[in-house]
Symmetry: C2
Subunit: 392 residues, 2 copies
């Protein structure tokens, strides 16, 4: 998987190994650095490190055959064997991971490791007791992960095809739904957020991705941007559908949002949605290498202010536009960089969502989200779905 | 959600706050301690801590309303406000999480925090620079998480109902499949592991859970216990189906495995499956509070040896029985305790899988997995699905 990335990484690893060697202890199912480094899925934490341009993993009997077959690791060492060796070396009846790593370091001539800020504190302290130097790479262990190759952009595009499949399923259900006393009926039963999410997630599965925590929230529920929605959906209310599935084969995410309304919008609803779409289109035009992410975000803020959409965050329930304009997307659904207040300059290869939103309890909420690959002279959209939003 | 647990925790928190206060910085979507503590889903890391019997969370504008409504936190503080205060306090234009936590500690009279072994090293070092003492709770921040209440057992039972829905879907597809030249055809097209997993995962979704990394592997592929399976499935081969979905509403997992065969088994296949089932039944009989997990595991090892099923782990591909007999299950799919070599005594309330397996390339593999709730006088099964395995 992704040989282009692996060789790019190899270069990085070679360049740095004279200083300190990257060390990881995490499950690649859940840790993006570990997945990026090893390129195969393991449910439990395992040790990996790089030395002399080689990527080495230490795997238990359960994972070792698959590690040799599927992973991007150059060398796979059997954990059991190294545990036995650590037992003798340190005369410990039950050597822990720290003893095993200390022995691996000794045998590979390593005295300093470089780890990500999220490296487990407990293990770090034990390694320090074994006189290893543990440096924290404050900007992340693999900051190069931010800049996506063409192959990675393709994986994210695939993720967004899955998101789009989810949006299509949602639109189809809303289109087929009947309006009865202001509520929506689908297949003769009340259409709830839960049912809509189920159809979206099934569509994602059929497209090759797993979607968790999908959002399909209507009316005032949608005014809480991370509320996933529950209970009956209503006619003539704005419904935010936000789908961020993870592609099963690669671990890359898609992330797209559309706002729908079944029935007939009011002028205020129409103005809200159109203002959000305008803000998004303007922001997308500004995305390119060297552009200030802070400025792009402030452009959205100014646009909303100029249209009279006020933001207030002091009270119990914030209103207006009170989240960032976007975030990096890759093997994590939220990763560097951010498009928000105080953020720096965009770099070529970064992949960011652009997702302004407006939230006003009583009126409802709108958010529209696409994904852009930052290029030297602009950006390439990695997501595609129509912006029609009124469903009769 | 789960008020019983919350009040149990409150007791724990109260008892300990004279010593050091638990501190977390993690996303509850992915970190079980944070989910257990806060009882609501947040996609990004956030700070939470307990002091004076109160659970406190520090949430950004995006999460704050939901935190007040949905979480088990007693107090929800706005991150933005505390960032502003830290800015003034430390005269930092961009105060980090460490400055915010240091200020929170000061205002709450805290000088020592207790964290889990997985607490992020980078943040811990920054807190130490701010002269906070960070103790690592080596046995885990909330070791009480191992012992499940009746309510939690019910959540896990629900997870296993979702697993069973997946197994039922798999069995239904296999039953409906036709055999053509040794391969399986379903709906006129070759039945692949991928198609079978899709049907399983859709059934899980319909039942209320998200299943990732589902295993549906046949023949020699299944001899690698974590190989999820790919390509066409064949008649007369053993097919391992392992389904561990996470219940969307609660975050608890189910985890069940059955081994199927479509067609006609050989005597060797029959003996393999029956031996695994016997081993499992024997192990389940021994599960109770005070029983040695090591002994239960060794019982399985001995049973297999006595039946002539040899285990070899030295070579490239391990054969026989080379994984643990089981693992704890809860808000993590693999958590404490383990049922394996060197493991300690079981405690009442723990929830463990019991899943012996045998793996022999050429012959195939069998694994059968159920979930047991450890009780003082035995165990209560939290999973239920028939053991029939030959599908004509």
């Amino acid at each position: 998987m992704a040989p282009g990335i692996a060789s790019f990484l190899d270069g990085e690893v070679k360049k740095r190994s004279s200083q300190s060697c990257p060390l990881l202890f995490a499950a690649s199912d859940s840790d993006a650095d570990q997945l990026w480094f090893s390129r195969f899925f393991v449910p439990d934490p395992f040790v990996s490190f790089a030395v002399g341009g080689k990527k080495i993993g230490v795997l238990n009997a359960l994972e070792i055959a698959r590690g040799r077959k599927e992973s991007a690791l150059d060398d796979v060492l059997p954990l059991d064997e190294w545990r036995e060796r650590a037992k003798k070396q340190y005369r410990a009846s039950k050597p822990g991971m720290a003893e095993i790593i200390a022995l691996l370091a000794r045998e590979h001539g390593i005295t300093r490791f470089r780890v990500g800020p999220g490296f487990p504190l407990g293990l770090a302290r034990q390694l320090e007791k074994r006189r290893l130097v543990i440096e924290v790479a404050e900007g992340g262990l693999f900051p190069e992960r931010e800049r996506k190759s063409a192959e990675e952009a393709e994986h994210i595009r695939k993720g967004n095809r899955c998101s789009a499949a989810g949006l299509r399923a949602a639109e189809k259900v809303l289109r087929a739904a009947a309006i009865r006393n202001g509520r929506l009926l689908y297949d003769g039963k009340p259409l709830t957020s839960e049912r809509l999410k189920e159809e979206i997630e099934i569509a994602c599965l059929r497209a090759g991705a797993v979607s968790s925590h999908t959002i399909a929230a209507g009316g005032d529920q949608a005014c809480d941007p991370h509320c996933s929605g529950s209970g009956p959906l209503r006619a003539n209310e704005l419904i935010i559908v936000d789908v961020f599935p993870r592609v099963t084969a690669t671990g890359y995410y898609g992330d797209m949002t559309r706002t729908f309304l079944k029935g007939k919008p009011t002028d205020a609803q129409r103005d809200l949605v159109e203002t959000v779409r305008e803000a998004q289109a303007r922001a997308l035009k500004e995305v390119k290498a060297g552009a200030s992410a802070n400025k792009i975000h402030n452009g959205v803020v100014d646009h909303f202010n100029s249209r009279g959409y006020e933001t207030k965050t002091g009270g119990d329930v914030p209103v207006g536009f009170f989240h960032g304009t976007g975030h990096g997307l890759g093997m994590e659904v939220h990763e560097a960089p951010r498009l928000s207040k105080g953020a720096g300059k965009l770099k070529s290869g970064q992949v960011v969502t652009v997702e302004p939103g407006l939230y006003y309890p009583g009126l409802g909420a709108a958010r529209i989200e696409d994904v852009a690959w930052v290029r030297p002279d602009g950006c390439e959209l990695l997501s595609s779905y129509p912006y029609r939003w009124v469903i009769r």
